[in-house]
């Protein structure tokens, strides 16, 4: 399936290559570089490319390209999903997935890749199985290893490989037993000029951090599970129980993981937490334009809106911006033409406003389209859909764990058209 993998950095250097079958010359990447040139933006590089003898499937993550070489028919999503899994694993091991980190740990990364694929077919992709085979580096362990000659490589088959709960290893021990769940919801919305909602939906995710001893069996139930329309689960969740009782029953993996993703059914009207009054106009006469944005709270469920931020991709013709913000500060990047207004907390008494003039390159016609506003915000301690966790029960172990649930609402792809 996957023949080879090349890691390519932003500037087009191949800094790691791994072959699972016979070696393929790195010149195959030239086709990719060609496409990359053409695409201008790295996001626009087609994920699947056809070359005379190979197929190239790539992902772009953390300013890196993961480029895999394929020779025969394979579901493209299979490869894409796997490449993302590789990136996830690297992130999990070293805290981030960047060129520097990979270069610093090149041998570990190489060993990981060796374990993850066999002859191009995924062998072990569960992070806890991998961690038993190749232990993540810590400072302490590396010191100990240099002194004792010990190794970072496990010598027995990870228990997870054989058990029917491959995501959890046996014999986990903690002194403080804790289970935390973050219910994070993102509002995806498109508002039109007048502020009416063209499209809005809520996507949620439950991130868990579980540090529990032994083999706990957890059951998480909701006050209002009917809100959830479409769900996808970590493999640990028992689907049958969800179908029958609408509770999440699972033996959790150790550490951090995404328990479920959900979509709130579209019948429920989405509460848009803020409103935006904006006017952006460019004048035919004289090289200038005007911008005036005010933001106010709308339906915030009594909580304060934090981390407000407005990002505007200005038309290419806009040279500079001369604005005044009543709250927060703004920056305009001339190279990328991105205007960022960082507001911070939203004060309902004194609405933040940004106004001023934009100067346009002389001689160019006025831009036809007004740029749309991308809005970022956070509301702590509330899930905008109203989803509530009612209880978490633990079976199978004797101790009393510490349990915690946190709610957070964020703006996802929140766009205001102007």
């Amino acid at each position: 399936m996957i023949h080879s993998l090349f890691l390519i950095n932003h500037s087009g250097d191949i800094f790691l290559e791994k072959h699972w079958k016979s070696v393929i010359s790195r010149s195959v990447c030239d086709y990719f570089f060609e496409a990359k040139e053409k695409a201008v933006e790295p996001e626009n590089v087609p994920p699947v490319l056809q070359t005379p003898h190979h197929y190239l499937i790539s992902i772009y993550r953390g300013k890196l390209f993961f480029l895999s070489v394929i020779q025969t028919e394979v579901p493209p999503l299979f490869v894409i999903e796997f490449l993302h899994r590789v990136a996830d694993t690297i992130q999990d091991y070293f805290g981030e997935c960047s060129e520097g980190v990979i270069k610093d740990n090149v041998v570990t990364v190489y060993e990981l890749l060796e374990e993850m694929l066999d002859n191009g077919f995924p062998l072990a992709t569960e992070s806890n199985v991998l961690k038993e085979m190749i232990r993540p580096p810590t400072i302490l362990r590396s010191v100990v290893n240099t002194l004792t000659g010990g190794s970072n490589v496990g010598d027995t088959l990870p228990t997870g490989q054989l058990s029917n709960v491959p995501w959890r290893r046996a014999g986990v021990k903690y002194t403080n037993n804790e289970a935390y769940f973050d219910v994070i919801e993102e509002i995806d919305a498109i508002l039109d000029k007048s502020g009416t909602t063209v499209f809005a939906e809520i996507q949620g995710v439950i991130e868990a951090c579980v540090r529990l001893t032994g083999m706990p069996d957890l059951t998480l139930s909701f006050m209002n599970p009917r809100l959830l329309d479409d769900v996808s689960f970590h493999p640990c969740v028992r689907f049958k129980r969800w179908e029958a009782e609408r509770v999440l029953s699972f033996i959790p993996p150790d550490g951090n993981f995404t328990l479920m993703n959900y979509h709130v059914s579209s019948q429920n009207l989405v509460a848009i937490p803020v409103y935006v009054k904006q006017s952006i106009s460019f004048f035919e006469t004289g090289p200038c334009g005007r911008l005036d944005i005010t933001i106010g709270p709308k339906q915030t469920m009594g909580k304060t809106v934090e981390n407000m931020m407005v990002t505007i991709h200005m038309p290419k013709a806009v040279l500079s911006a001369n604005l005044t913000a009543t709250q927060g500060n703004y920056t305009y990047d001339i190279a990328t033409k991105v205007l960022v207004w960082d507001i911070g907390k939203l004060n309902p008494q004194k609405l933040p406003n940004l106004r001023g003039s934009l100067s346009i390159q002389a001689g160019t016609p006025k831009p036809e389209e007004n740029p749309s506003l991308n809005i970022d915000l956070k509301i702590q301690q509330v899930a905008i859909s109203g989803l509530k966790v009612s209880r978490l029960d633990m079976y199978g172990e004797k101790y009393k764990p510490f349990k915690g649930v946190k709610y957070l609402t964020k703006a996802g792809k929140f766009q205001v058209r102007t």
Binding site: P76, E81, D104, Y110, T125, G149, L162, V198, S232
Partner: protein
């Protein structure tokens, strides 16, 4: 490693096989040894560390600061680049590239593991960066036997990378791997096989083959998985081995562990995808295991099964495909009509299909696949979701495909690469099944921040989804897009508008006007694109739009984009009669600028000239000649050719042939309007989700998705012969177990037990089928009654008798009487007489349809009846049952019938008859009892036959017997009609469920079944009979349960502790669970003296009830009270094998613990029961109709139970 695994691995060490215990200990030691050595070794080297060696160590960690060389070869590798510089500054100033390699060699040759490790890390870092390290091969390969596991692994990495280049040297390492293949540690065995098979050295092919064969029968599933991985490797190295490899694949396909399934199917796909016959026997197993296979395996299996299903099952949309062409035509037709159309079409199609062939019934295996893949739509892995989606798209009936839309839309939140692939597939799907995605229209709205390729794909989907109802929203949305800064995207939007306009007639004018407005756009690209699209639209109805053409003619001065100019010129030429004044002027202008135009424009100028010459030669003759002369000397040969050709054609000369006469026809022929098609049209002949589909070109190794077969191939090929599989297993293990002698017997026995008892549904049902086949269509009751041949006929006789006796006529008589009664009620008394006369005649004709009002009739009737009774004894019994029913419902029903006097008369009549009838019964209970007893015995025997375990049912049987006797007697005393022989659920049909698998249970396997017998300690509990099998070598002690987790209200009566279960033995216990009439699982821990296992028992809804006896009238009465919300009715088509009464009764009673209620009609089967906990009534009616149609009615106070029961019974009857 657990004891169990160790034990299981023993046979691999073929030499040690006899001395089991010893080698166990040995195995343990060997197992530990690699761990021990590194622990011990360091102390040696640390104390004896030479300054010389320290230098190496240091050089590894120089610039790194603090000598943290262990922080990963990365730092080592990093330094390497800078190496020469720094080292130059340090001690060894002369070190260059080859010398550094020497350095590494020296480190590898040292006897210190840490030095070796350091060296290997650096080498691997070199490989990772694509540097050549091949000249280190001899030094590295020596370390292949190194004790340090990390060094070993890195050496493996090196070997796999360079062995191909240095084949001879690589052979040095082979013996190490061969030794590794016999290691007691499964990880070492597996990795030895992995490396051995990854070394691409042709000379070792035979060794690899041997190793794979051996590993394929390894005790550790992990090693078997590795063997499956090795198969394609060997195949790519030497395709000649194919036949032998197929054998291995066949063996591994039969493997029952989820770990192996994905890998072996992958091997199958790479080596022999055409050998679809290998899948037959494993099909059901694969379907059932699927949910537990790891994600990547799921994708491969689902894709393979899609192909398999296409070859084995019939097209579920057969009706649709019959009229596909018709469907295509109305595809974009008005939508409201469409729905009706479709219905009509379907009816028509159905009619034709009916005429042509028998109605479509989905193969149960087809259904199994659809059912088992559906939950995977909830997977977090996008590839799995896509795989299921394509499976549904290609295999599911039209009505069921919709479920995938939601999941696919969910994937649109994922990474942009995932979006890209998903949108491509959605685009293809929307063409075939637009309705599926219509509710999610807004999810495809475009954001300005989307990458262009995503935008274009979303646009494609939006266009495909457009219809009359949503077109206005879509067009409004498009208007926003047209203002975008991304010009490629704007161009795509304009094309999309064009397509909407062609597809939906009503908005064509609006779109056209919008596009015309765009012509004044400042961006030339936008204008050009609009022109092209307008041209295509105008071609559809040119006569209406001459002003637009005029407007465009004016534009030609400003537009510079060649394609647009060419389009305008073509339009003017084509419709020159609409713009007779402007056209020559345009030609004049063009003639002026001819030499400066692009080729494509020049060609159109020539065309325009030719067309004008033909229509308006007076004005344009000279111009045309001028243009043609210019073209004659053009640089482009196409243009020269065209000019020459046209000149010959249009300018009449002496030489010009017959063609010039037809010039006008040639040029001014009516041209069909272009069809604006989606680029995704017809892409679905590629399997969706595949690379080939994405590229719209066949990729190497792509397996075509076959067309549906005309007639279904024999479905019985998928039946798994239980015995055969046992033999197979034994065969597999023979090689290794052969030496063990008696060990083998134990093993065989265990295997048999597990295969026979444990295997889930798939073997179960097939075994049932098989048995049926053997017994030559023996009806069900004979089975449970345990009487052969003769009774069979007697049975059927009694059955038919009972039918006629007890119930059959009454059902219809009831309905008849009811309707007629109401009729009569409205009619006058005189008419009544006539009516009755008529009725009598009717009755004579149709004996099976007697009418109830007969009871209340005059003597003439009575006489007739007597007559009838003489001739046909059936009628007498019929009247008996009638009388009985009448008595019971006297109060409720009698008033409604006739005048009171008549009624009383008739009643006395009836009572007399009844007494006569009552004198008979006393005989019957005895017979009944006998029957019961024999039945019980036989069923025991049956079970015995089926299950070699000692029969455990003895105790419960007694309670059962007495209990059922009571109910029987109750029933008898209540009524004088003969009981239907099916009141008791057949016990041989009990289904076994697995509670604990042999592997997870470390040798202990537990199964349970719902014995359907009252649980004596507590009547509100469901009896669960558990069977423990100890297939481990050590005995299990103190089997008991602990830590029961239940939903509120549920209770459990634990089974008595089993103190000792010797190896190889089986024991049985019965426990009771009060499920509170819910299907929630009871979770508890099953404990042995050493381990605890989490297990759970979940009852099918059918087991939550116990049979009760009801008479037909009671049934009616109760049913009458359970109407409305409490009644659920479903229409269904019966399975082909399930069209007779026996089969229906059998399937229903297997699905639910109900007893049959006597019923007068052979078109209806009725069943009754009460839920165990609350005692709510459960009434089930199956009314059959012609052609296998049937109606299922369930009346139950508990609606949830009712709904679930309907589902279960539906399933049981349709599959």
């Amino acid at each position: 490693m657990t004891t169990m695994q160790r034990l299981l691995q023993l046979p691999v060490n073929a030499v040690n096989m006899v001395k089991t215990v010893q080698s166990q200990v040995q195995g343990q030691e060997e197992d530990k040894s690699p761990v021990l050595t590194p622990d011990n070794a360091p102390q040696n080297w640390y104390s004896a560390l030479q300054p010389d060696e320290l230098r190496h160590l240091r050089s590894g960690g120089t610039g790194g600061g603090g000598g943290g060389s262990g922080s990963g070869g990365g730092s080592g590798g990093d330094q390497e680049e800078r190496g020469p510089l720094e080292e130059g500054g340090g001690g060894g100033s002369f070190q260059t590239q080859p010398l550094r390699h020497d350095d590494l060699k020296e480190m590898l040759d040292s006897n210190k593991d840490s030095l070796k490790l350091e060296a290997m890390k650096r080498i691997v870092a070199m490989i990772a960066r694509g540097k050549n390290a091949s000249d280190l091969f001899p030094a590295v390969v020596k370390n292949v036997a190194c004790k340090n596991i990390e060094v070993k692994k890195l050496v493996y990495v090196y070997l796999v990378r360079y062995a191909e280049e240095q084949q001879d040297l690589a052979l040095l390492s082979i013996s190490t791997f061969q030794r590794g293949l016999k290691d007691p540690n499964q990880l070492i065995r597996a990795s030895a096989l992995r490396v051995l098979s990854s070394i691409r050295v042709t000379i070792i092919v035979p060794i690899m083959m041997l190793a794979i064969k051996e590993a394929a029968s390894d005790m550790s599933p992990y090693v078997r998985k590795t063997a499956a991985h090795a198969i394609p490797k060997l195949y790519s190295l030497d395709p000649e081995q194919k036949d032998q490899l197929i054998e291995v694949i066949e063996k591994l396909l039969a493997d029952k562990t989820t770990l192996v399934a994905g890998s072996v199917v992958m091997a199958f796909e790479e080596v022999c995808p055409e050998r679809i016959d290998l899948i037959h026997k494993n099909y059901r197993k694969l379907c059932n295991l699927l949910i537990d296979v790891e994600e990547w395996g799921q994708v491969v299996i689902i894709n393979m099964l899609t192909r398999y299903a296409r070859t084995q099952f019939l097209n579920p949309n057969i009706n649709e495909s019959l009229l596909e062409e018709g469907a295509d035509k109305t595809f974009y037709g008005s939508d409201e009509d469409e729905d009706e159309d479709e219905e009509e079409k379907e009816k028509k199609a159905e009619a034709t299909a009916m005429a042509k062939r028998k109605p479509y019934v989905m193969d149960p295996d087809h259904r199994l696949l659809l059912r088992n893949t559906k939950p995977l739509l909830q997977s977090r892995n996008a590839a799995v979701v896509m795989a299921v989606a394509q499976l549904y798209f290609h295999l599911a009936p039209k009505a069921e495909v919709g479920v995938i839309a939601k999941a696919l839309v969910r994937l649109l939140r994922s990474h942009s690469e995932v979006q890209y692939v998903v949108l491509q597939n959605v685009a293809t799907m929307t063409i075939k099944r637009r309705g599926m995605f219509e509710p999610y229209l807004k999810s495809f709205y475009i954001r300005s921040t989307d990458p262009t390729q995503i935008k274009v794909l979303k646009l494609e989907v939006l266009t495909n989804l457009a219809n009359e109802t949503n077109i206005s929203t879509i067009l409004r949305e498009f208007q926003t897009y047209i203002k975008s800064m991304d010009k490629d995207f704007v161009a795509a939007t304009i094309q999309a508008i064009g397509r909407c306009a062609t597809n939906i007639g009503e908005v064509r004018d609006t779109c056209l006007n919008g596009l015309v407005q765009l012509l004044s756009n400042r961006d030339e690209l936008v204008v050009a694109e609009s022109v092209v699209v307008i041209k295509k639209l105008l071609q559809m109805q040119p006569e209406k739009h001459s002003d637009i053409i005029k407007h465009m003619a004016k534009l030609i001065d400003n537009i510079q984009v060649p394609m647009a100019r060419a389009s305008i010129l073509w339009l003017i030429g084509e419709y020159c009669e609409h713009v007779p004044k402007i056209a020559p002027d345009v030609l004049r202008k063009m003639a002026k600028s001819f030499t400066n135009e692009e080729d494509i424009v020049k060609l159109q100028i020539i065309n325009l000239a030719a067309k004008l010459y033909l229509t308006n030669s007076k004005q344009t003759k000279l111009l045309t000649q001028y243009v043609l002369n210019l073209a004659k000397y053009d640089q482009n040969y196409d243009i020269r050719d065209r000019a020459r050709f046209i000149r010959q054609l249009i300018v009449p000369t002496e030489k010009s042939g017959a063609l010039s006469k037809y010039a006008k026809k040639l040029f001014l022929a009516l041209k069909p309007a272009p069809v604006l098609e989606s680029p995704f049209k017809d892409r679905d002949h590629f399997q969706l989700g595949s690379l080939s589909h994405l590229l719209n070109a066949k990729a190497g190794g792509y397996q075509e998705l076959p067309d549906w077969p005309e007639a279904a191939p024999d479905p019985s090929v998928r039946n798994v012969e239980v015995k055969e599989s046992v033999e197979e297993v034994i065969d597999n293990s023979e090689g290794r177990i052969g030496l063990l002698g008696d060990w083998r017997e134990v093993f065989t026995l265990l295997e048999r037990v597990t295969t026979l008892t444990s295997v889930p549904e798939w073997t179960k049902c097939s075994s049932r089928e098989k048995r049926k086949e053997k017994k030559v269509e023996k009806p069900f009751y004979s089975d449970s009654e345990g009487e052969s041949g003769p009774t069979e006929s007697a049975d059927s006789e009694s059955d038919s008798a009972s039918r006629s006796e007890s119930a059959s006529p009454s059902e219809e008589s009831r309905s008849a009487s009811e309707s007629e009664e109401s009729e009569e009620g409205s009619e006058s008394e005189e008419e009544e007489e006539e009516e009755q006369e008529k009725d009598k005649k009717k009755k004579k004709k149709e004996l099976s349809k007697p009418v109830q009002e007969s009871e209340s009739e005059q003597s003439s009737e009575e006489e007739e009846r007597k007559h009838e009774r003489k001739s046909k004894p059936r009628v007498q019994t019929k009247s008996d049952s009638e009388s009985e029913s009448d008595e019971e419902e006297e109060e409720s029903e009698s008033e409604s019938s006739q005048s009171e006097s008549e009624e009383s008369e008739s009643e006395t009549e009836v009572r007399k008859k009844k007494k006569a009838a009552e004198s008979k019964p006393p005989l019957k209970p005895v017979k009944k009892e006998n029957k019961k007893e024999s039945k019980k015995e036989m069923s025991l025997l049956d079970l015995d036959d089926f299950n070699p375990a000692p029969s455990p049912q003895v105790t419960p049987v007694n309670t059962f017997l007495s209990n059922s006797l009571v109910t029987d007697l109750e029933g008898l005393s209540l009524s004088d009609s003969v009981l239907a022989p099916a009141t008791i659920a057949p016990s041989s049909a009990l289904k076994n469920y697995e509670l604990l698998h042999r592997i997870t249970g470390e040798g202990l396997s537990v199964e349970y079944c719902f014995s359907r017998q009252p649980f004596s300690p507590d009547a509100n509990m469901v009896a669960v009979q558990m069977q423990f099998t100890n297939s481990a070598t050590s005995e299990a002690k103190n089997l008991h349960m602990e830590d029961v987790k239940l939903q509120s209200g549920m209770r459990v009566k634990e089974f008595p502790e089993i103190e000792l279960l010797p190896a190889g033995e089986t024991a049985t216990a019965v426990m009771g669970i009060d499920f509170c009439d819910s299907t929630q699982a009871a979770n508890f821990q099953l404990c042995t003296h050493t381990r605890k296992f989490f297990v759970s028992i979940q009852p099918p809804v059918g087991e939550l009830m116990r049979p009760i006896f009801l008479t037909e009238n009671e049934f009616k009465k109760e049913q009458g009270q359970l109407m409305g919300m409490n009644e659920i009715t479903e229409k269904l088509t019966l399975d082909v094998k399930c069209r007779n009464e026996h089969a229906i009764v059998q399937r229903v009673t297997t699905a639910a613990n109900l007893s049959r209620v006597p019923c007068g009609s052979d078109k209806e089967c009725r069943f009754a029961g009460r839920t165990v906990t609350s005692g709510s009534l459960v009434l089930v009616t199956v009314a059959t109709k012609e052609e296998g149609g049937a109606q299922l009615t369930v009346n139950c106070e508990k609606m949830v139970i009712g709904t679930m029961l309907v589902k279960d019974i539906l399933l049981a009857l349709t599959q």
